[in-house]
Amino acid sequence: MAFEPNEPQEKIKYDEMRIYSDEELNNYTEEELKNFKTKHDTPMCDDLESGPWPSFVADAKREALHRRKLADDRILLSAETVEDTLGQLEDSFVDGETHWKHGGIVGVFGYGGGVIGRYSDLQEKYPAVAHFHTLRVNQPMSKFYNTDFLRTICDLWEYRGSGMMNMHGSTGDIILLGTTTEQLEPIFYQMTHEMQQDLGGSGSNLRSPSCCLGRARCEWSCIDTQDMCYELTHYYQDELHRPAFPYKFKFKFDGCPNGCVASIARSDMSFIGTWKDDIRIDQDAVQAYIAGDIAPNGGAHAGKDWGKFDIQKEVINLCPTACMWMEDGKLMIDNKECTRCMHCINTMPQALRPGADTGVSILFGAKAPILEGAQMAVLTVPFMKCEPPYENIKDLVEKVWDWWMEEGKNRERLGELIQRWGLPKFLEVIGLPPMPQMVTEPRSNPYIFWKAEEVPGGFKRNIEDYRVKHMR
């Protein structure tokens, strides 16, 4: 099964795209790096070079040296951009406060987002970071790359930017960290024209969707996370680039309830792969686990002696619904009672597999605390088939957006609108009947709203009629 892009896409060949020669790419020695002194004294930053974890300071310094040794006309920003970044960071450590000015509105024509403007408040001391804008570059699904693509981005960014980046931003984008306003359009032009690569989202719009690695390298993925993510990202390009919403909106696609891209906590619309038939059991493999021939949980606990695998203790007794048991040496599952938590499958991946009749559960409204408190997403659609081109999912997306775009207050996340209007209202606008699965438990207060049409006789009454039977 091969997938095709929506539009024909030219291969990127680094050798045809490159800016820097091999000589320029290898323009310093270990010895020079050891003896390299940056422009500013940064004792606290330097302290972060020791210890085993990869040091971002050590990494920054090699880019600083590399830039110093490139000829003046081989980069468009100052050679000292990285050094001024470290200098300002050091000042922030000393002062205990950030030195970036508030906000900053910059971008590229045609789009309302994708670039985060930033200006230093120590511009005289650190002129190379006076402008220090970030570009969000929409990452390929689940962050697989080839080196032609990465090297091309690197050359482009070293030439027109700071050479510093985040791999990746929390939402998923490649983050290009630090360039001037002047270079935003040229960078965008080069990316779109030479690389067929677009910016990601920022502002009150659809942000760059992201997904777990799904069927690319996981036996549990119930859906084509990459394909769904790619299709919806492309289908909703307008919503992504031109803010038209009350606030931000995120899609995330998890292939199963393990939640490797954390959609339930970090997306307004969370897609979680699931199944509706039986867990597939290989009884021979179950026996192999019991015999100790296969390590439980893929060997995840191998660093400590937890004793011999005990299927009763580690699987059957930990099942949250107690729907498993052993019978005549066979593992039995009452699938009607299973909530598909993944524990048994996670623990015995060679013996148990998700069912074959798969789809997604859709949950809505996750967000961080601001304003009304943090929310996880609320289960709304228990199961939905999802096959390309995902028309049923697009229909649902648009119903939700229609309502939220109309009723949502300024800077009100979908989760907050659902809280303000109530889950029943949300169900009404997207046309779904209620089900017990939407709640952990039914309400305990009796402050129940009824509509006039639900009550015989309605709400229009006359006090005189009441007084006929009830003296004042």
Binding site: V82, L89, K143, E185, Y230, A265, G299, H301
Partner: protein
């Protein structure tokens, strides 16, 4: 095709809309899959963790793919990415991927190639000593810390991200390279309570926090800010409209109702609140995202504030280590930190982790009542005896 060296590239500032390409989206994923991934897409049968940092996936076709996972700094320069490319070209036919926790994964098709790759990765060190690509981050250990911009790029942080993460990962490094814990421990970090990332749902979470109300720049408030937005930004309704003595429109803030969230500053540059002495770090624990056994959980505040001791945050590192070690010693196999804390009771969590419990940890926002203990079920700890003593219940 070639990247341009002109100052404006192909872009013509005089005709900005000419030749503009838009709405291309990301490139297609399929071209970035190594052949073994393309050939076995959707056919994977099972996987094993061969050793810390090394996975093997086995396909129905019999194909195998070995994945070596290594730590990444998230912040990285093009020099670092080029070195990643060198490794990918040398061992992996030019393919590489990044994980949702910003680790780096290299994939090969045979055990021999995997051994060579691993050796290469562990041999690469910065001149000042730290590993460039330490192998680990799999199974029941501590993997990479999801984190934010901090002082490197953001205007609202109450602490720094990259330095704190470096300090903590240095200290928890053995857990990154080991699989000795009851379950995986997800640590995350955000430099203010906008919580970009995963702080509200992690086993251990570090959060930059302010403790002083904003200072108001009355001079520029009306000129630079949309005052109603500033007022609406406050979760506790502490902000109201006001006028300065010379009649300029501004706001006033009821200090006793302000809990220093900084959301008004997000909306308005005239109410900055960063402060060296006031700002610091809050620690949360017990959150999770997966649905495994128990439902997803929010993380809970367990340490209300620690100082920003740049650059290595010794107090924060100390308390994180206390939590990890108490959990490692006490929790059952497969229990996440939140599962463990709920089973033993939070009173035991504080006792076992040797963390003080203060009034700051008791919720008092909107739905706070749901978090109070409306039961006589509790365990005795020293904290309980103290209350009994204070109430005159015991000597």
């Amino acid at each position: 095709m070639a990247l341009s060296l002109e100052r404006f590239g192909g872009y013509n500032p005089d005709k900005p809309m000419e030749n503009r390409l838009t709405d291309l989206g990301p490139r297609h994923f399929w071209e970035f899959f190594p052949p073994v991934i393309q050939n076995n897409y959707g056919k994977w049968k099972y996987h094993e963790i061969l050793e810390p940092g090394v996975l093997v996936h086995v396909s129905e076709t019999g194909d195998k793919v070995f994945t070596v996972r290594c730590g990444g700094g998230r912040f990285m320069t093009v020099e670092n990415v080029r070195e990643i490319c060198d490794i990918a070209d040398k061992h992996c036919d030019g393919y590489v991927r990044f994980t949702t926790r910003n680790n780096i994964e290299f994939m090969v098709e045979t055990q021999d190639k995997m051994e060579a790759l691993k050796k290469d990765l562990m041999s690469r060190k910065h001149v000042t000593g730290s590993y460039k690509f330490p192998v680990g981050g799999t199974g029941a250990g501590v993997t990479n810390i999801v984190h934010t911009q901090g002082f490197l790029h953001c205007h609202t942080p109450a602490t720094d991200a990259s330095s704190m993460v470096k300090a903590i990962m240095d200290d928890l490094f053995d857990y990154f390279q080991g699989m000795t814990l009851p379950a995986q421990v997800r640590v995350s970090m955000a430099c203010c309570l906008n919580m970009c990332g995963a702080v509200h749902c992690s086993d251990i979470a570090l959060l930059g926090y302010h403790r002083k109300p904003p200072v108001i720049d009355h001079e520029v408030m009306d000129a630079l800010c949309e005052i109603p937005l500033v007022i609406a930004a406050c979760p506790t309704g502490a902000i109201s409209p006001a006028k300065t003595e010379d009649g300029k429109k501004t706001v006033k803030i009821k200090e006793e109702r302000c809990m220093f969230c900084g959301n008004c500053y997000t909306m308005c540059m005239a109410v900055p609140l960063a402060d060296k002495e006031g700002d610091g770090v809050t620690i949360l624990a017990g959150g999770k995202i997966s649905n495994r056994i128990s439902r997803p959980k929010f993380s809970k505040v367990v340490v209300p504030w620690l100082p920003n001791n740049f650059p290595r945050f010794p107090e924060v590192v100390r308390d994180v280590k206390k939590i990890v070690e108490a959990y490692a010693a006490d929790a059952n196999k497969y229990e996440r930190i939140g599962d463990w804390a709920e089973r033993i009771g939070w009173e035991k969590f504080f006792e076992k982790c040797d963390l003080p419990f203060t009034e700051h940890l008791i919720d008092d926002y909107r739905l706070a009542y749901d978090t109070y203990r409306t039961s006589s079920q509790f365990k005795y700890t020293e904290a309980a005896w103290e209350v009994s003593r204070a109430a005159g219940g015991i000597e």
